[in-house]
Symmetry: C2
Subunit: 347 residues, 2 copies
């Protein structure tokens, strides 16, 4: 069975805290009517800090699209290469073994994409299939894993290098003053992750048993970008809080199709989303509290890192699982789309 | 073998001619030193007209990114649905048979992407796999066909709906005054195309035998976007003229692996690129002149429609081929990337 090997993760040096966000709001949006509500909401996120590729003050003074994109390209080129090389080293494979390169990055845009940059930077084979994904947002990490699984099912000699890189902070906008803008600024963080899926079943890792895409119809407004002259502006509908409930039956049926019952789940690698999304995952999948421990840990110390998040949580499971542990990897993103994967650990 | 069924094609009502472009340059860039050279180059493209989603004057007076993106979203939603529905009708399948939706569109950006819009608009199954591609540029149509082929190889009950939609004219910029900007403005046209790949071998169409991705290392500058406050600005390196020569051996070896010799090719469905690219395809693949007739016809009457182009040329072959005709579908795009497919007609 195709197997996810140990990921590599990178978080940049600049740190933003809840206090930084509150001070920003007090300074630039002192007339907001939501101040008390906001303070409570920000501390309720359970996020303690997030990492940014650039200082928070610089980010909050950025202007138009071009300026943001130039910064995106600078860090995207550098750190995608860093995590990709380490993920390849972790996998026990060499560059010549890679047959597909998937990048997922929704917070900036390049053409040619990062897949071209990585084929050049890592000197991957000239027949490597590229899969650059810019529009799957937060579900991108799980999405990439499910697409890699399909490619690996075609041949045990297929191997996929996945890189997720997000500069969420470059989508913060100083002038954006809606309650939901402040919430976005309070939960998203930057980071990069790399992981290799081997088509064979050699070595330690999470073997993929089955994958599924779930789309919720007529919910495009749940998670979307407004395209502005200042670049991408994240927009979240309150309704998104009910999304996990809305796909609950499909997810549970999928899990039960292989694992008998969700009571049997040994692990759940969940997109971190936010505290309430994780609470919903726990409730709707009927999980014991410790099952989401690593997802909550990731949210606490790096925030919601969009497509990077689920690979970060996967990484935290290495060394903390038992041979033959069975469970699920799940993420959520725009569409509304969920990508779900059932897996079994080989330790 | 997975089979491409009859495509649907849409070209919008506004038409731009070589004279329109020359008048524009004379009006706004009268001090350019390239005027004589330009006039000759524009008439040498062999393009007679192109279709645009909006009047040429409106396009050439567009400003910042947000304005362009709003126009993109308006036509992308409307016409992607139109060509998708017709392609589905042509395929003999119904909406419930579709297992994957691929969209390829490099001239605008939406999140959620057009894949979400089409699942909603066509009421496709809620487990449809989405593949929204924004960063493969002109190779996007052939790229989508090759990814669909992989998906269909997993099961004969897999069926893929592909939609390519390009608003290339929204990437024209009035202030852009380099020689290559004028060339871009002179070759690109708008349009939309839909095509279904059936996983089984029922009905008329082009059956896919084999697919291949070819990447040319260290050529990211050949075809790229500059990301400006006015949106995407196309940039083309003169070196791109040598790209077909650079991949010539790989393409010919791939063709010979199945078809013995390129002399045996009954058809070549080529990305239209420009006249010189088609000349290079003819020379490097050692093709008889009539083999590229449909590609040249497409270039002449709609220009280079980016990811739409290769599906347009595919469409022009329906009704003009014989049972068991064997040949190649090939396109080129940023990376530099070429996607190549070998196929056989079932008539």
């Amino acid at each position: 069975m195709p197997t996810l090997t140990k990921p590599s993760i990178y978080y940049p040096e600049y740190i933003v805290t809840n206090n930084d966000i509150l001070n920003f709001i007090k300074k630039y949006h002192s007339n907001t009517s939501h101040m008390n509500q906001l303070e409570e909401m920000i501390y309720n996120t359970t996020i303690e800090k997030r990492h940014l590729f650039f200082p928070f003050d610089l980010v909050m003074n950025l202007g138009l699209f071009e300026e943001r994109q130039a910064l995106y390209e600078e860090v995207a080129r550098k750190y995608s290469l860093l995590v990709a090389q380490k993920a390849l080293d972790n996998s026990g494979l060499t560059k010549k073994d890679i047959t597909m390169i998937i990048t997922t990055s929704c917070t900036g845009f390049m053409m040619p994409s990062l897949t071209a940059h990585l084929i050049n930077g890592l000197d991957l084979p000239e027949n490597t299939i590229q899969l650059p994904i810019a529009q799957m947002g937060c579900v991108g990490g799980a999405y990439a894993i499910n697409r890699a699984f399909e490619h690996c099912q075609l041949s045990p000699t297929n191997n996929v290098l996945i890189v997720a890189l997000e500069t969420s902070s470059l989508c913060f906008h100083r002038e954006a003053g809606k309650l939901q803008d402040f919430i976005s600024d309070s939960i998203f963080g930057d980071g990069a992750a790399g992981v290799v899926m081997r088509g064979d079943d050699v070595g330690e890792g999470l073997s993929v048993v089955k994958s599924k895409s779930i789309f919720l119809k007529n919910t495009e407004s749940f998670i979307q970008y407004n395209i502005t002259n200042n670049g991408f502006l994240f927009s979240l509908d309150k309704q998104v809080m009910y999304s996990v409930e809305m796909i609950r039956n499909q997810v549970n049926e999928f899990i039960q199709s292989e694992l008998k019952h969700t009571d049997n789940i040994d692990f759940c690698i969940s997109h971190t989303g936010g505290r309430r999304i994780l609470d919903e995952v726990q409730r709707c999948l009927n999980l014991k509290p410790h099952i989401l421990e690593k997802s909550r840990e990731s949210l606490k110390i790096v925030g919601n890192t969009s497509s990077v998040s689920v690979i970060d949580v996967l990484s935290r499971h290495f060394g903390n699982v038992n041979h033959k542990d069975q469970g699920v990897l799940i993420a959520f993103g725009p569409g509304f789309t969920s990508e779900v994967m059932l897996g079994e650990w080989r330790v």
